[in-house]
C-alpha cells in the first residue's frame, strides 16, 4: 500500500496562458472558480485567502511567482486540525499548447511528518495531557 505524498493532475484549457494565469493569481479569478471570495498578495511571501459560502476558509502563503508559467503556494492540509503545523505545497505549471494551455497542478507533502511525530508514533511512553495538565496544576499552585 503506497502512502501517497503527491497528487498530480494535468488538464488542457482552451485559453492562452495569460488568461489562465489571471484566473489562478488574481482575486477576481480565484473567486470565480475556486473560492467564493478571495484576496491575494502576488509576491513570494505574500498571503492569500479564500473563503467559501459554507464558512470554510483557506490561508495560503505565496511561494513562487514566475508569470505566466509557475505559481506556487503552501497551505494547511485539508482535513487536519486547525492548529496542525503541517502544510502542503501546491504548484501550478502553465505551458502553451496549441492555442490553449496545458495546466499541471502538483500538491506535495502529504506524507511529511515532523521528526518528533515519528518519535511519538513509535514511543510507547507518551505523556500527552497527563503531563500538560500536571504542568497547569503546578503553574496554578505556584501562582
Amino acid at each position: 500500500m503506497p502512502f501517497p505524498d503527491r497528487i498530480e493532475r494535468t488538464v488542457q484549457i482552451g485559453r492562452p496562458p495569460d488568461q489562465v494565469w489571471a484566473a489562478l493569481t488574481t482575486a477576481e479569478g480565484l473567486a470565480a472558480w475556486f473560492g467564493n471570495e478571495a484576496t491575494i498578495e502576488l509576491r513570494p511571501g505574500g498571503s492569500a485567502r479564500m473563503r467559501w459560502t459554507g464558512g470554510e476558509t483557506a490561508e495560503m502563503r505565496v511561494e513562487r511567482v514566475e508569470e505566466p508559467r509557475v505559481f506556487g503556494f503552501t497551505w494547511h492540509i485539508f482535513g487536519l486540525p486547525e492548529d496542525d503545523p503541517r502544510r502542503t505545497y501546491v504548484e501550478f505549471t502553465l505551458e502553451p499548447s496549441g492555442s490553449g494551455t496545458r495546466l499541471t497542478v502538483v500538491e506535495s507533502g502529504f506524507a511529511q511528518l515532523p521528526e518528533d511525530a515519528y518519535r511519538k508514533a513509535y514511543d510507547g511512553n507518551t505523556q500527552g495531557w497527563a503531563s500538560e495538565l500536571g504542568e497547569l496544576v503546578a503553574y496554578l499552585d505556584a501562582a
Binding site: 500500500m1 502512502f3 501517497p4 505524498d5 497528487i7 493532475r9 488538464v11 488542457q12 484549457i13 482552451g14 485559453r15 488568461q19 489562465v20 484566473a23 489562478l24 470565480a32 472558480w33 475556486f34 492540509i77 485539508f78 482535513g79 487536519l80 496542525d84 503541517r86 502542503t88 492555442s99 490553449g100 495546466l103 497542478v105 500538491e107 502529504f110 506524507a111 511529511q112 511528518l113 511525530a117 515519528y118 511519538k120 508514533a121 513509535y122 514511543d123 510507547g124 511512553n125 507518551t126 500527552g128 495531557w129 497527563a130
Partner: protein, 118 residues
C-alpha cells in the same frame, strides 16, 4: 519516509474496521482514560470483550496502559498513530478534479466561447 509509517497506518485502519474497537477508541477520545470496567459500564459490550480488544489495541500501540486508581489498569488513547493515518486520509480527501473542472468551465464561459478542454 520510513516504511514503518505504513505499518502504523495499517494498525489504525485495522483497529477502526471493527465496530467494537471503534466504540472503545471513540469513548477514550471523548472522555479520556478509562479502565475496562468503566468502558463496560458505558458501552453495550461485555467486559471480557472490551479487555480482549484493549489488549489488542495496546499491542498495536493505539492505546497505552497505565496504573489507575485502586490498582486498576487504565487505558489512554495514543494520538500519534492517528495523526499518521490522518495524513493518508488527507491525501485521499484532497479533491483537485472538482476545482480544475470549475476552472475549465470558468475560462470556457468567461471569454464567451466554448472551451476546447480535452
Amino acid at each position: 519516509m520510513p516504511p514503518d509509517i505504513e505499518a502504523i497506518a495499517e494498525h489504525v485502519f485495522t483497529a477502526l474496521a471493527d465496530p467494537t474497537r471503534r466504540a472503545i477508541l471513540a469513548a477514550l477520545a471523548a472522555a479520556g482514560p478509562a479502565t475496562a470496567t468503566d468502558l463496560a459500564g458505558r458501552l453495550p459490550i461485555t467486559r471480557q470483550a472490551i479487555a480482549k480488544h484493549l489488549a489488542l489495541l495496546a499491542e498495536a500501540g493505539l492505546v497505552t496502559a497505565e496504573p489507575g486508581e485502586r490498582r486498576r489498569v487504565r487505558y489512554r488513547l495514543r494520538s500519534a498513530p492517528m495523526q499518521v493515518a490522518q495524513q493518508f486520509l488527507a491525501a485521499l480527501a484532497r479533491d483537485w478534479d472538482g476545482p480544475l473542472s470549475a476552472l475549465q468551465d470558468h475560462l470556457g464561459q468567461s471569454a464567451g466561447g466554448p472551451s476546447t478542454a480535452a
